[in-house]
Amino acid sequence: MKKAIILISLTILGVYLIDIFTGIGFGTAHFASGVKDAYLIGSKETLKVSNVVTSIVVNFRGFDTLGEVTVLFLASMALGGILYKKRHDVGERSVLFPSTRIVMSGAKLLFPSIVLLGAYVFIHGHLSPGGGFQGGTIIATGFLLMLITYRNYSVSHQRLSYIESSAGIIFIGIGLAGYFINGSFLSNVLPAGKLNDLFSGGVIGIIYVAVGFKVAAELTGIIYTVLHEKD
């Protein structure tokens, strides 16, 4: 009886899915119309952004990016709520082997350049490939290198949460400014500037710097929490 009900419901679901997939029409002229031209021309003509992906992600579909950042924030908060303990001695943790002198010197040498690369990636998000999320993860990788190399390297959780919160407030503040000035959330309120210039694209640069700081702080917090979980 139970199996019969499951089979019948799966059959109904399958029939509907086949109907939907045959209706899409893969390979036909599906991309001939739609918003494609508005994005491609609008990002170059009105926004003056050379990286079209960035202009779609941050400006035309900026609300989706806000949701993405919120999901990451919730994930890091939940992980911290489960694993974070207020009192842990940093010196005695034995998660990883003690590193040699060569690794320590190499990490010290590499750390500033990794952070600089991350900052470059998110500041130039609207000119070259990359953006806030990518730059933030690169910076978090640098902190990860320091955390696994030096056994008593510690990051201030309070400072991380300050950076994270202020970056989120800047993002939402720019969105609200767009709402009050232009009438739609996250619309461009600053002058667009010149194509291929650092100060171009209006609010995209500021939003990407905020997203970069936010992602870097969140991922560093996640790694720090996971590394100190055992003690």
Binding site: L96, V121, T137
Partner: protein, 98 residues
């Protein structure tokens, strides 16, 4: 043409690393193999002209995920059947005592 050959080589290497990660009983080697999949995948993304995705894949797939898995292995067991073996040994000891 050369890009086509390179793409096929990268896909074959990725499939090989994936099969190795499943086949290997040592979980540390398996995690390193899955990191290698991400590395080749990020090169493949560059060839397919998606450098934004390639940057994300290189930072998250190669570095962060691998390290978090390694920390998890460090806190649990390293070999796939180590836990089962320990349980079996305990049961054997118990039956021997009785």
């Amino acid at each position: 043409m050369i890009y086509l050959i390179l793409t096929f080589i990268l896909i074959l290497l990725m499939i090989g690393a994936a099969i190795y990660a499943i086949w290997q009983k040592d979980l540390l080697y398996a995690v390193i193999a899955s990191g290698i999949i991400s590395l080749f995948l990020s090169i493949l993304f560059v060839i397919l002209q998606a450098p934004d995705v390639a940057l994300t894949e290189a930072a998250i797939g190669v570095a962060l995920t691998t390290i978090i898995f390694i920390i998890a292995i460090r806190n649990t067991v390293r070999y796939e059947d180590e836990h089962d073996k320990k349980v079996k040994k305990k049961e054997q000891l118990k039956s021997a005592e009785q």
